[in-house]
C-alpha cells in the first residue's frame, strides 16, 4: 500500500500558475457496508501523504469520522438549504480555488442537495480531477449502479444514491476495506456503527452477500487492469472470442432491470454492450410519458457504459435480430411481461418471435410480474376517436346504395359489390380503420337488404351470395388494416423526414447567410421552430461569454449565465435534462468546433413539463454542431475582412503621409520664404536694398493665398478624419437650397473673384433636408475644384432642378474636363486626375464631398460637358413634409 500511495505522491503537480496540471488520480476506498473502516483507512493514507509533504485538504468527511481530525486541513462544507433543512455539501469552488494536491471525499455516490451545480457528488469529484487534483474517496458497494437490483433483492433496501459503474471502473486505484462480517455485527451491537433502525441491514447473511459482491467487484477491477496492462504490453494470452451483448428496451418499467442485468452480463464476459430501442409505428403513438421513460432508461444504459442505438422498423423482433446479426451480437437480453396464456396463443409473443428468428444468438429472458404495457394514447392521436368519421362512413355507404339503385336492374348484383368495395377502400384511406370496418359491415347489410332477392328483407335465397358477403367483408377488413398501417408508416417516416429536413433547412440557410447577425438569426429561428423552444446563443467575446442573440423577449437569468460559463469552460452539457444543474429551466449545450468551444447554445421549453426525446436530443446536437461551424466561419470571415481593412488602412496611411509632407510643406515654405525676405529687408542695418511696394504686395499676396490653402487643406483633413471615424454628425433640417448657395458664394467671393457665376435655381424648388454646414462644405469643395481646373475668368455655373423626391445640383465649369478613365475615380481618396499642373489639389476635397453626400443618402457623379468642361452633379433628399404638402 505504501508503494501505491507513494506513486500518487510522486505525481505531485506543479505549483499553480504554471502549465495546467494533467488530470488528477482517483483512489476509491471500497467497503461492503458502513463501519468497515473506509474513512479510517482513507485518513491514514492521507496523514501519511501529508507527512511526506503533500497538501491534503478534506473536502467533505462523514460526520461520524468526527474526532481526531485536527491535524488535517478541513474545508468547511457549504451548508445548502432545502425545504427548511441545511445539508453539508462540498464547497466545490472553494476547494478548486485552494488547489490542494489531494482532496478527501466521503461517500462518492452521494446525491447532492438540489440547487448545487452538479446532481451528484461524483460529478464534483470529476471536476476536481479535471482541475488536476487527486481525490481519495470512500464508497459502499451497495451504491454501484449495476448492483442496485441485486442489493434490493438481498437486503430489501431501495438504493437512491447510485454511482455509475464507469466511475468505479475508471478509478486509478481501489483499496478494499474489509472486516469480517461477524466483527462488524459485533461493532453494530456495541453501538459503534449505524443506529437501531439499521438492524435489518446489519444481519450476517446480508453482510456476507454484500461482502462477496465487493470482493468480486474488486477482483473484476484488478482483472481488468491486468488485462489492459497485458494488452498494452502486447502480451498474448488466451483471449476469448469477443462477446457482444445487446439489451432490448421499451417503455416498460422492467427495462431498467434489463439494462442492469445486461451490464452485469457484459461485465462478466468483459463484453461490449448495446442498449437498443426500436421505434415502430405502433410505439410512435405512445404518449410522451412513455418516451420520457424510454429516454430515462437509455440514459441509465449510457451511464452504465452501453452504446445507445435507436432503430426504426416495422416489426420489433425482425429489426432487433437483423441489428444483432449485423453487429455480431452474441447475446440478447430481453424482457417478458407476464400475460394470460390465451393472449399468447392468440397473438403470439415477441419473445417467441425473437427466439425463433435468433438462430445461434443466445437469448436471456427476464420476466416481470407487472403486466404488459398499455399504450397510453393522447387524445389528439386517437385516429378513430372522432364519431363524425363513422357518420361519414355511413353516408358513404348510403351514397353508394343511392347510386346503385337506379342501375341495379341493368347489371348483375354481384358487380354492385365492386361499388361497395370502392366505398370501403375510400373510407379506409380517408377515414381510418374503424370507419372502414363499419363501412364494410354496413355495406354487406345494405347489399343484402336492397339488392339480393328477396329484396327489402335480410333473407337470402341464393346461398352463393354468402360467399359474396364474406368476400366483401374480408376485403373491407384487409383493405382497412393495410390502409391504416400505411398511414402510420407515413406518419413515422414523415417525422424522421421532418428532422432530416430541419437539419437540411438550417444547413441551407446557414450556407447562404452572410454575416454573423444573419447566421445567428437563422439558427435561432430554426431551432425554436423545430423544437418549439426559446433559444439563446452566447458567444465568447474578448474572453467574456456574452449573450449574443436570443428568441424575442428571452434572456438568461444570472444563475443560468454562470451555468453557461461552466458549460463553456468544461465543454459539457448542463441544465435541464442533464446531470449538471438539472434544476435550471434551460438546457445548455456547448458549441464545439475543431478549434475548441466558441460559445453556448441554450434552449428552454415553453411548457416546463416537456423534456427532449432522445431523437430531439440528437437533433439538438446536430443543430449545435451546424451552428458552431457556421458561427466559426463568420468569425473567421470577420477576422479576414478586418485584416483586409487593416492593409487598406496601411496603404491609406502611406498616401496620407505623402500628402501631408507635400501639401503642407509647400505652402509653409512659401510663407516662410516671404516672411524671411520681408524680415531681412526690414531689420535694421541690413545690406539689402529695400523692396519696392509692388513687390511687397505681391509677396504678401502669395503668402496669404498659401496660408489660405493650408487652412483649407487642414479643414479637409479634419473632415476626412471625422467621416472615416463615423464621427460626422448630420443634423438635418429643411433649407431652401438657394440659401445654401448664397452663403457659399459669400464665403467663396475671394476665390471666385473675376469669374462670372451663373445660378439657375427655380423659385419653386422644394426645400432640401440636409445639414447646412456640411452641404455648404460640399459646394465649397466643388466650386474650389472647378476654379482649380479651369482658366481664370471662365464662368462657373450652379444649377438645381427637382427630380422626384430629390434635388439634383450641378456645378459646371469650362475647364479642360476630366479624362474619361478618371470619371469614376476622382471621388477616391488621394486620387488626383492628371490635369492642369499645379492645380494644388490634395485629392481629398472630392472624396469628402462623396462622403458627405452619401451620408445624406444622396449620390455624386462627374461628367464631361459638351463644349468643354466638367459637370459635377449631386442629388440631395427633398424635405418630405414640404414635398408632400407641395404635391397635395
Amino acid at each position: 500500500m505504501t508503494e501505491n500511495t507513494a506513486a500518487i505522491a510522486g505525481s505531485v503537480r506543479p505549483e499553480p500558475g504554471e502549465a495546467p496540471r494533467p488530470r488528477g488520480l482517483l483512489k476509491i476506498f471500497l467497503g461492503y457496508a458502513p463501519g468497515v473502516g473506509k474513512t479510517r483507512a482513507m485518513l491514514d493514507v492521507a496523514r501519511q501523504m501529508k507527512s511526506q509533504g503533500s497538501q491534503v485538504l478534506a473536502a467533505i468527511l462523514d460526520t461520524q469520522a468526527g474526532a481526531g481530525l485536527e491535524d488535517l486541513d478541513l474545508q468547511p462544507p457549504a451548508l445548502v438549504e432545502h425545504r427548511g433543512e441545511y445539508y453539508p455539501e462540498i464547497d466545490l469552488d472553494a476547494v478548486l480555488s485552494r488547489r490542494p494536491q489531494i482532496a478527501l471525499v466521503s461517500d462518492l455516490a452521494h446525491t447532492n442537495t438540489p440547487g448545487l451545480r452538479h446532481l451528484k457528488r461524483y460529478l464534483d469529484v470529476q471536476e476536481l480531477l479535471e482541475a488536476g487534483i487527486d481525490v481519495f474517496a470512500t464508497l459502499n458497494i451497495q451504491h454501484v449502479e449495476s448492483l442496485v437490483d441485486a442489493v434490493r433483492q438481498i437486503t430489501g433496501l431501495a438504493i437512491r444514491d447510485t454511482l455509475p459503474d464507469q466511475i468505479l471502473d475508471q478509478a486509478d486505484e481501489i483499496e478494499l476495506c474489509d472486516l469480517p462480517p461477524d466483527e462488524l455485527v459485533a461493532r453494530f451491537q456495541a453501538g459503534q456503527v449505524g443506529n437501531s433502525a439499521d438492524k435489518s441491514f446489519f444481519r450476517e447473511g446480508n453482510l456476507m452477500a454484500l461482502r462477496e459482491m465487493t470482493l468480486r467487484k474488486a477482483a473484476e477491477w484488478v482483472d481488468r487492469r491486468m488485462r489492459s496492462y497485458m494488452q498494452t504490453e502486447a502480451i498474448s494470452g488466451p483471449w476469448p472470442v469477443r462477446e457482444r451483448v445487446m439489451v432490448a428496451i421499451s417503455a416498460h418499467p422492467v427495462s431498467e432491470r434489463l439494462v442492469r442485468a445486461a451490464r452485469r452480463l457484459a461485465d462478466d464476459l468483459n463484453a461490449e454492450w448495446f442498449a437498443v430501442y426500436i421505434e415502430t409505428p405502433d410505439r410512435l403513438r405512445f404518449a410522451s410519458a412513455h418516451s420520457d421513460q424510454v429516454s430515462r432508461t437509455l440514459k441509465l444504459a449510457e451511464e452504465l457504459g452501453a452504446q445507445i442505438v435507436i432503430l426504426q422498423g416495422q416489426s420489433i423482433p425482425e429489426t432487433m435480430v437483423e441489428f444483432a446479426r449485423r453487429n455480431n451480437i452474441t447475446k440478447i437480453v430481453a424482457g417478458k411481461p407476464l400475460r394470460p396464456r390465451w393472449y399468447e396463443l392468440l397473438r403470439g409473443s415477441l419473445i417467441d418471435d425473437i427466439v425463433r428468428l435468433s438462430g445461434n444468438i443466445d437469448i436471456y429472458i427476464i420476466s416481470d410480474p407487472a403486466g404488459p404495457l398499455e399504450p397510453v394514447i393522447p387524445a389528439s392521436w386517437k385516429p378513430h376517436g372522432n364519431y363524425r368519421r363513422y357518420i361519414f362512413s355511413l353516408l358513404l355507404v348510403l351514397l353508394t346504395t343511392l347510386i346503385s339503385f337506379p342501375i341495379h336492374l341493368a347489371i348483375e348484383p354481384t358487380n354492385l359489390v365492386m361499388l361497395y368495395l370502392l366505398a370501403v377502400l375510400f373510407a379506409a384511406v380517408t377515414l381510418g380503420r374503424g370507419p372502414a370496418l363499419l363501412a364494410s359491415l354496413v355495406s354487406v347489410l345494405a347489399f343484402d337488404f336492397f339488392f339480393v332477392e328477396p329484396r327489402l328483407t335480410m333473407d337470402v335465397t341464393d346461398t352463393q351470395y354468402l360467399i359474396t358477403f364474406l368476400g366483401l367483408f374480408v376485403a373491407g377488413l384487409v383493405v382497412s388494416s393495410l390502409a391504416s398501417l400505411l398511414r402510420d408508416q407515413v406518419e413515422a417516416s414523415r417525422r424522421r423526414e421532418s428532422q432530416t429536413a430541419a437539419l437540411y433547412a438550417l444547413g441551407r440557410d446557414l450556407a447562404v447567410a452572410v454575416g454573423m447577425e444573419a447566421i445567428l438569426e437563422a439558427i435561432i429561428g430554426h431551432i425554436s421552430q423545430t423544437l418549439n423552444r426559446d433559444v439563446v446563443i452566447l458567444l465568447d467575446e474578448k474572453d467574456n461569454l456574452r449573450q449574443r442573440a436570443a428568441s424575442p423577449e428571452f434572456s438568461l437569468q444570472y444563475e443560468e449565465l454562470s451555468a453557461a460559463g461552466w458549460v463553456y469552460t468544461h465543454s459539457q452539457e448542463a441544465g435541464r435534462g442533464t446531470n449538471t444543474l438539472p434544476d435550471l429551466s434551460v438546457r445548455l449545450v456547448p458549441l464545439r468546433t475543431p478549434r475548441g468551444v466558441i460559445g453556448v447554445l441554450g434552449v428552454k421549453p415553453e411548457d416546463p413539463n416537456f423534456y427532449l426525446t432522445p431523437e430531439q436530443r440528437r437533433l439538438l446536437e446536430g443543430f449545435a454542431s451546424l451552428a458552431a461551424l457556421a458561427i466559426e466561419r463568420a468569425v473567421l470571415a470577420e477576422e479576414a475582412s478586418q485584416a483586409k481593412v487593416l492593409s487598406a488602412t496601411e496603404k491609406l496611411q502611406t498616401a496620407l503621409l505623402n500628402s501631408i509632407s507635400h501639401d503642407m510643406r509647400t505652402p509653409i515654405s512659401t510663407i516662410t520664404g516671404v516672411l524671411s525676405s520681408l524680415r531681412d529687408t526690414e531689420s535694421p542695418g541690413n545690406a539689402l536694398p529695400g523692396l519696392d511696394s509692388a513687390t511687397r504686395v505681391d509677396l504678401l499676396e502669395s503668402a496669404w493665398e498659401e496660408a489660405d490653402r493650408l487652412n483649407r487643406y487642414i479643414g479637409n483633413l479634419l473632415d476626412m478624419t471625422r467621416l472615416e471615424a463615423g464621427a460626422l454628425k448630420i443634423s438635418r433640417e429643411p433649407y431652401e437650397f438657394q440659401d445654401i448657395v448664397g452663403a457659399t458664394l459669400a464665403q467663396m467671393s475671394a476665390r471666385l473673384a473675376g469669374r462670372p457665376v451663373k445660378t439657375g435655381i427655380p423659385a419653386e424648388l422644394p426645400m432640401v433636408s440636409v445639414d447646412f454646414v456640411l452641404i455648404q462644405q460640399v459646394l465649397i469643395n466643388l466650386l474650389d475644384n472647378s476654379v482649380k481646373n479651369s482658366e481664370p475668368g471662365t464662368p462657373v455655373e450652379i444649377n438645381a432642378r427637382p427630380d422626384g423626391d430629390q434635388v439634383v445640383v450641378q456645378i459646371a465649369d469650362r475647364g479642360s474636363g476630366i479624362p474619361e478613365q478618371d470619371l469614376e475615380r476622382i471621388f477616391d481618396k488621394f486620387y488626383r486626375a492628371q490635369r492642369l499642373e499645379e492645380s494644388g489639389g490634395t485629392g481629398l476635397g472630392l472624396s469628402i464631398c462623396r462622403g458627405i453626400v452619401e451620408a445624406h443618402g444622396g449620390r455624386i457623379w462627374a461628367e464631361n460637358r459638351t463644349g468643354g468642361g466638367a459637370v459635377l452633379s449631386l442629388s440631395l433628399p427633398v424635405d418630405r413634409e414640404a414635398w408632400r404638402s407641395d404635391n397635395e
Binding site: 496660408a707 479634419l718 452663403a743 459669400a746 445660378t759 447646412f772
Partner: protein, 230 residues
C-alpha cells in the same frame, strides 16, 4: 498707440495670437490688455473696464461660454468670440449667452476691425434716427414703411418685425434662437422653419438676386446677419 483709444481686452491662451492681436490692434489706435485664461479675463475686465472683449472659446480653465455668462452678470461690454471651425454649437451657446459677434480662426485683421467697429457702435446709446438707409433700401421705422429704390415693398407684419430686429442689430449676427424669441416671442425658440420661410420671403421681396443676397446673409449653422454698406 494712444492712451485715449478704445480699451480692448484680448483673451486667448495662445501667446502667438495675443502678440499678433496686440500689434495689429495697437497699430489701429486701440489700447490693448491681455489675459491668458478665463479667470484672468474676468479679473482683468473688472480692473480695466475695457470697451470691448475679444474672447477665445477654448480656454484652459473655464470655457469661453462660461466667461461670457459671468461677464454678462455685471457688464454690457461688447464681446467678440474667436472660435475655430466646427464649434458651431459652442458659438451659438456663446451668442445666446450674450456675446455680440464671432469670428472664425483664421481670420484677417480687416474683418476683425469691421466687427469691432460694429460692436462698439452698438454699445453706444441707440440712435434716435427713425429712418434706416443702406444701399438703395430705406426703412422708416416710425411709419413702418420699406422702400427698395423708389418702390414701396409690402411686407407682412411678421416679415416687417423680422426686418426691424435685423436692422436694429445691423452688422451683428443674430442666432436663430434670438430672432425667434424677439419676433415670435418666448416658446417659439425651436420653430426654426418659421424663421426660414420668412427670411426666404424677405429676400424675395428685398434682394435683387435672392440666391446671392446682399442684405440678409446666412451665417451657416448659427443664424443671420444684416449686412450694412460699411
Amino acid at each position: 498707440m494712444s492712451d485715449n483709444g478704445p480699451r480692448v481686452l484680448v483673451v486667448d491662451d495662445e501667446r502667438a495670437i495675443r502678440r499678433f492681436l496686440r500689434a495689429s490692434l495697437a497699430a489701429h489706435g486701440f489700447n490693448v490688455s491681455e489675459a491668458a485664461n478665463g479667470l484672468e479675463a474676468l479679473s482683468g475686465a473688472a480692473e480695466t473696464r475695457p470697451d470691448l472683449v475679444i474672447l477665445d472659446l477654448g480656454l484652459p480653465d473655464i470655457d469661453g461660454i462660461e466667461v461670457t455668462r459671468r461677464l454678462r452678470e455685471w457688464s454690457q461690454t461688447p464681446i467678440i468670440i474667436l472660435s475655430v471651425r466646427d464649434q458651431e454649437n459652442d458659438k451659438i451657446s456663446a451668442l445666446d449667452a450674450g456675446a455680440d459677434d464671432y469670428l472664425t480662426k483664421p481670420f484677417g485683421v480687416g474683418e476683425l476691425l469691421a466687427r469691432i467697429r460694429v460692436a462698439l457702435r452698438h454699445s453706444l446709446p441707440a440712435s434716435q434716427e427713425p429712418v434706416f438707409k443702406t444701399g438703395d433700401m430705406q426703412v422708416d421705422l416710425g411709419r413702418r414703411q420699406v422702400m427698395v429704390g423708389n418702390a414701396e415693398v409690402s411686407l407682412t407684419p411678421t416679415e416687417y418685425d423680422l426686418l426691424r430686429v435685423l436692422i436694429q442689430k445691423a452688422g451683428r449676427v443674430l442666432t436663430h434662437r434670438q430672432l425667434l424669441q424677439q419676433v415670435w416671442g418666448a416658446g417659439y425658440e425651436n420653430e426654426s422653419h418659421l424663421l426660414r420661410v420668412n427670411i426666404s420671403n424677405l429676400r424675395r421681396k428685398l434682394e435683387p438676386d435672392p440666391s446671392q443676397p446682399r442684405y440678409v446673409l446666412t451665417e451657416p449653422g448659427v443664424g443671420y446677419r444684416f449686412k450694412t454698406d460699411e
